[in-house]
């Protein structure tokens, strides 16, 4: 695939992520903070998000396996996940966290379990999509092109 095609593919892909509600304008904010002096800013922030999220999702899974469920602690963890997903524009994950927190508040175990599954699912999707997007960007850079805005 030549450079022009790659660039077009990237633009289309990115656009679809917004249209399908995977990303929101906060992601655009992050991209605008990247420049020649900080060319990896978005990748770095998103990587931190991945690490953070995986840690939190593990902890939430464990929490829901306990005999006595610590809803307060879970709520704090979901709050953290909500915060970081909001900060990078991971829209669907963020929205699910809001629902998740509601279930924590009313101590609804079933609801929490269901939400956790959904969040894990959505997280998996956005992670794959962002990684694909970054790979496309890298291909463009490797081909000597620049990443379209």
């Amino acid at each position: 695939m030549d450079l022009i095609q790659l660039q077009r593919q990237l633009v289309d892909y990115r656009t679809s992520l917004y249209h399908e509600g995977f990303l929101d304008e906060q992601f655009t904010q992050l991209q605008s903070l990247q420049d020649e002096n900080n060319p990896d800013f978005v990748v770095e922030v998103v990587s931190l998000f991945f690490e953070d999220s995986e840690r939190l999702l593990n902890e939430l899974s464990k929490a829901l396996e306990q005999q006595i469920i610590d809803f307060k602690r879970m709520d704090a963890q979901v709050h953290q996940l909500k915060g970081s997903s909001s900060s990078i524009g991971a829209h669907r994950v963020q929205k699910l966290c809001i629902v998740f927190r509601n279930y924590c508040e009313v101590h609804n175990v079933e609801g929490c379990l269901k939400c956790l599954q959904q969040v894990k699912h959505e997280y998996g999707i956005i992670k794959t999509k962002l990684e694909s997007m970054f790979q496309l960007e890298q291909q463009i850079l490797n081909a000597g092109g620049s990443i379209p805005v």
């Binding site: 903070l33 002096n37 900080n38 953070d52 900060s87 524009g89």
Partner: protein
């Protein structure tokens, strides 16, 4: 990049005006950013650096107090290996484990040494009661997360303005929200939600709801300041 720009600007001004800036404090605002989230710290750091600030980012209220030298348990004059730079502004998350941003705000405002430092609270939750509580305790402003560059620029703008011109802090948040419950610490005239009082005879402030615009008679240094330039040319 901001530092280089600052130095270059200072040299130029010196040449043009013979105005000696070498004795003044650094023109860059030094911000202490407090947030337990690694993602948010990285973002706020970048936002502040882009806004030409020096940034020190810490992950808890406790560490913030240590940095300032306010921690009761650790009496340190020096600050963790940093060169003891004066903090011009504190931006803190509200919800943090251990000490909340609100508690940090209170501690700062209770301290005679640091109460003048403006404190801005960030929160993902747009709860009026929470906002009011923070403003009443003396917070300069309240940003709803996720934080955007325009939020940071606005805050740095009026912090820079106040630092430069040594004015009383205005109820900028009052203009934005039509609320003013700030304690009359400095003995200001009562600020209402209507256009703010002028802060000095040479300053005029337009009651913009979003942009600070204290257009004082600018010294050559402030006219050329990157942040001032941004403020003048930016609009909502």
């Amino acid at each position: 990049m901001a530092r280089n720009g600052g130095v270059a600007w200072m040299r130029t001004t010196e040449k043009i005006d013979g105005y000696d800036l070498s004795t003044s404090d650094t023109e860059e605002v030094h911000v202490l950013a407090v947030d337990d989230s690694l993602v948010d710290r990285k973002v706020i750091e970048r936002l502040l650096r882009i806004s030409s600030c020096k940034v020190t980012a810490v992950d808890s209220g406790r560490r913030a107090l240590q940095y300032l030298g306010l921690d009761e348990e650790i009496q340190k004059k020096e600050t963790n290996g940093f060169d003891g730079l004066k903090v011009d502004l504190i931006i803190t998350d509200y919800c943090m484990p251990g000490m909340t941003g609100y508690e940090l705000l209170k501690k700062v405002k209770e301290s005679s040494a640091f109460r003048e430092i403006p404190v801005v609270i960030m929160s993902s939750e747009n709860v009026i009661a929470r906002i009011d509580r923070c403003l009443e305790e003396g917070a300069e402003d309240f940003i709803v997360k996720p934080v955007k560059l325009s939020d940071v620029k606005r805050i740095i703008d009026y912090t820079t303005t106040e630092l430069r011109e040594g004015e009383q802090r205005e109820g900028a948040r009052a203009r934005r929200r039509g609320i003013n419950k700030r304690k009359q610490r400095e003995g200001d005239d009562d600020l209402s939600s209507s256009p703010p009082s002028t802060l000095s005879s040479s300053t005029s402030s337009s009651p913009s709801s979003s942009i600070q615009s204290a257009t004082a008679p600018l010294s050559p240094s402030t006219l050329d300041s990157p942040t001032r330039r941004l403020k003048m040319t930016s609009s909502e």
